[in-house]
C-alpha cells in the first residue's frame, strides 16, 4: 500500500519542477506501479460472498434468492428468514446477479423486492431487506474486508428497530460505535478495541443494554432490532474473520483487552527457497529491469540531444 501511494505523491511534488524532471518523475511513478503489482492487487482471486438479512420489522418470513452469474445459477440464500436474522454467506462466482425476496413458501414470481447487483472476486455483500412494511426496500450492502488495525475489530451498525427512528450505540468506557444512526441505513465501520463490551443503546422508547464479544482482526455488523416492550436488542453477526492475535479478546466485561496484541499478520514476504533449482535463465526477468534499461536509454538520448543543441 505504501509503495503505491508513495509513487504518485513523488510525481506530484516533482511536477512543479522543470519538465524533463517531470518526465523522469512520471517514469518513476510508472515503474513503481508496474513493479509493485501486489500493492495494487486489492482483491485476492476468490469467490464472491453473499448473504441475506431480514431487517424489516413486522414483515413476514421471506425467502432470498439470487440468480445469474457466469453459469446462470439460482441460489437460495435462505428460504424462510424471520425479522432480525442474517443468513450465512454463500460463495458465488463473481459476476452479475438479480436478487429477489418473496414471502416464504411462495414462488419467486411473487417477489416483493427485486434488485440487480454485481459482485467481484473476494468481495462480501449483504442483501438487506430494510425499511418498513409499507416501504420495504432491498439494499446491497458492501461488507468491508479491510484488515482492522492491530488489536481492534471493525464494527458497524444496521439500525432496524421500529421503536427507534435513530439509535446511538456506545461502549461503556469505550468508543462510540455510532452516533444517531438512522433507521434502515447501515453505518460506516468503526474501529473497536478487542474485548467484551457492554453497550448502551439510546434513541428508542427506552434505553437498552447489550454485551458483545469483539475479537481482534475480525469484522462485525451489529443489527439493532426490536426487543420486548419497546426495548432494543443487538444481534451481533460476524462479517469476516482475519488472523487472530495472541492476547486479544481477554478483556473483562466493559473493558478492552488487557494485553496489547502484536501485529495482526506477519511482516512482508516469505523466505521459502534455497535456490537449488534456480538457473541464470530461471523465471521471467522482472518488469523493472526492462523499464530501467528503457529509462537509461531514454535519459541518454535526451542528454545527447541537449548537449548537441
Amino acid at each position: 500500500m505504501t509503495t503505491s501511494l508513495a509513487a504518485p505523491a513523488t510525481a506530484t511534488r516533482w511536477a512543479a519542477r522543470p519538465s524533463l524532471v517531470a518526465l523522469v518523475a512520471l517514469a518513476l511513478a510508472l515503474a513503481g506501479v508496474l513493479t509493485a503489482p501486489g500493492a495494487w492487487a486489492a482483491a485476492a482471486p476468490g469467490q464472491a460472498w453473499v448473504r441475506a438479512a431480514h431487517a424489516v420489522p413486522g414483515l413476514e418470513g421471506m425467502a432470498f434468492t439470487v440468480t445469474g452469474g457466469p453459469d446462470d445459477d439460482t441460489v437460495t440464500l435462505v428460504d424462510d428468514a424471520e425479522y432480525g436474522s442474517v443468513s450465512d454467506y454463500e460463495a458465488l462466482a463473481p459476476g452479475d446477479y438479480t436478487a429477489s425476496v418473496a414471502p416464504a413458501g411462495e414462488a419467486e414470481q411473487s417477489a416483493v423486492l427485486v434488485t440487480s447487483f454485481t459482485v467481484g472476486q473476494s468481495s462480501a455483500t449483504t442483501l438487506a431487506a430494510i425499511g418498513t412494511t409499507d416501504q420495504p426496500r432491498l439494499a446491497t450492502l458492501s461488507d468491508d474486508l479491510t484488515p482492522p488495525a492491530a488489536g481492534t475489530a471493525n464494527v458497524r451498525v444496521l439500525p432496524a428497530a421500529a421503536a427507534a427512528p435513530t439509535v446511538t450505540v456506545e461502549a461503556q468506557d469505550g468508543p462510540t460505535i455510532t452516533d444517531v444512526a438512522v433507521f434502515g441505513q447501515a453505518t460506516a465501520y468503526a474501529p473497536v478495541p478487542a474485548g467484551r463490551w457492554a453497550l448502551d443503546l439510546s434513541g428508542g422508547r427506552k434505553d437498552s443494554k447489550a454485551v458483545v464479544d469483539v475479537e481482534a482482526g475480525n469484522v462485525y455488523t451489529l443489527v439493532v432490532v426490536d426487543g420486548e416492550d419497546g426495548a432494543l436488542e443487538v444481534l451481533p453477526v460476524t462479517d469476516a474473520a482475519g488472523t487472530s492475535q495472541p492476547g486479544a479478546g481477554q478483556g473483562g466485561a466493559g473493558g478492552p483487552a488487557a494485553t496489547a496484541p502484536g501485529a495482526a499478520a506477519p511482516v512482508g514476504g516469505v523466505q521459502t527457497g534455497g535456490g537449488g533449482t534456480a538457473t541464470a535463465t530461471d523465471g521471467v526477468p522482472p518488469t523493472g529491469v526492462a523499464l530501467s534499461v528503457g529509462a537509461l536509454v531514454l535519459g541518454a538520448l535526451l542528454v545527447r540531444r541537449r548537449v548537441g543543441a
Binding site: 509493485a36 484488515p147 482475519g242 521459502t272 535456490g275
Partner: protein, 226 residues
C-alpha cells in the same frame, strides 16, 4: 552540467537502481541468509505423483452458526482441528504440516526442511471462517521442494487439508499470483474473509544470489469447496 541535465541523470539512475533492486529482500541479519536446514540433514523432496486421500476421516461441515455468538474452542478442540497433512494431487503434493509462528523481526517462519508444509498457527483452522495460511519451500539448496510446482496450479484444482482428528476439508483453487517480496500484499493474503479460504505460499521469480533468497513470492488462493 546544467541543473536540468543533472536532475535527469539522477532521475534515470534512481529509476534504474530502484527497479533493479525492487524485488530483492535485504540480506538477513548476520550475513547471507542460510537455509533453515543443513543440506546433509535434508530428506529428498517428497513427491508422490498419485497422491491418494487417506481412507479415514470424513468431510467437515463448514461452520454454519455465527462465530460471534459461539464460545471459543478449548485446547482439545484446537488440537483436534489443526491441520496435519495437505494434498494437492494436481501438482503431486502429499505433505505433513508443521506449525509456523513469526520470527523475531515479524516475518512468517518457514518449515525447517523442504518436504514439509507449515501452517501459520494464528491463521484459520481447516474449514474455519477466515484465511488459512500454509507455506512451503519451492526448493532447497539441492533441488526441488514441496511447493516446486505451486506456480502450475490452475483454477478449479482440488486441495485437501487433513485435520489431526482425521477429518478432511476440501478447497478449490481460485487463482495463483506472484508478487515481489518487498511489495507483498499482506492485506490480500492475511486479511479477513467471510468464509473459509486457503492460501498456499512459496517463493518465485528470480533468485538473488547476493541474499540467498528469491525475489518474489507465489501465492495460490483457494476457497472451501461447497
Amino acid at each position: 552540467m546544467s541543473v536540468r541535465r543533472r536532475s535527469l541523470l539522477l532521475g534515470a539512475a534512481a529509476l534504474a537502481g530502484g527497479a533493479l533492486t525492487g524485488c530483492a529482500q535485504g540480506p538477513a541479519p548476520g550475513g547471507p541468509a542460510s537455509p533453515a536446514a543443513s543440506p546433509s540433514s535434508l530428506p529428498p523432496a517428497s513427491f508422490s505423483a498419485g497422491a491418494s486421500a487417506p481412507d479415514a476421516g470424513e468431510e467437515v461441515p463448514v461452520p454454519g452458526g455465527d462465530p460471534a455468538s459461539t464460545p471459543q474452542p478449548g485446547q482439545e478442540e484446537l488440537a483436534a482441528a489443526r491441520p496435519v497433512r495437505v494434498l494437492v494431487p494436481a501438482i503431486g503434493v502429499d505433505a505433513d504440516v508443521v506449525d509456523l509462528g513469526v520470527t523475531p523481526d515479524g516475518a512468517l517462519e518457514v518449515p525447517s526442511d523442504g518436504a514439509s508444509v507449515g501452517w501459520f498457527t494464528r491463521s484459520a483452522l481447516p474449514g474455519e471462517r477466515g484465511p488459512q495460511v500454509l507455506a512451503g519451500h519451492v526448493d532447497d539448496e539441492r533441488g526441488p521442494a514441496v511447493f516446486y510446482r505451486l506456480r502450475e496450479l490452475e483454477a478449479g484444482a482440488e486441495i485437501t487439508v487433513v485435520r489431526a482428528d482425521g477429518a478432511q476439508v476440501g478447497y478449490r483453487v481460485d487463482g495463483v499470483e506472484r508478487y515481489p517480496k518487498d511489495a507483498f500484499p499482506t492485506a490480500t493474503v492475511y486479511g479477513p474473509s467471510p468464509g473459509p479460504v486457503l492460501r498456499l505460499i512459496t517463493c518465485g521469480g528470480t533468485f538473488d544470489r547476493s541474499t540467498g533468497h528469491y525475489r518474489d513470492n507465489t501465492v495460490a488462493y483457494a476457497t472451501v469447496a461447497a
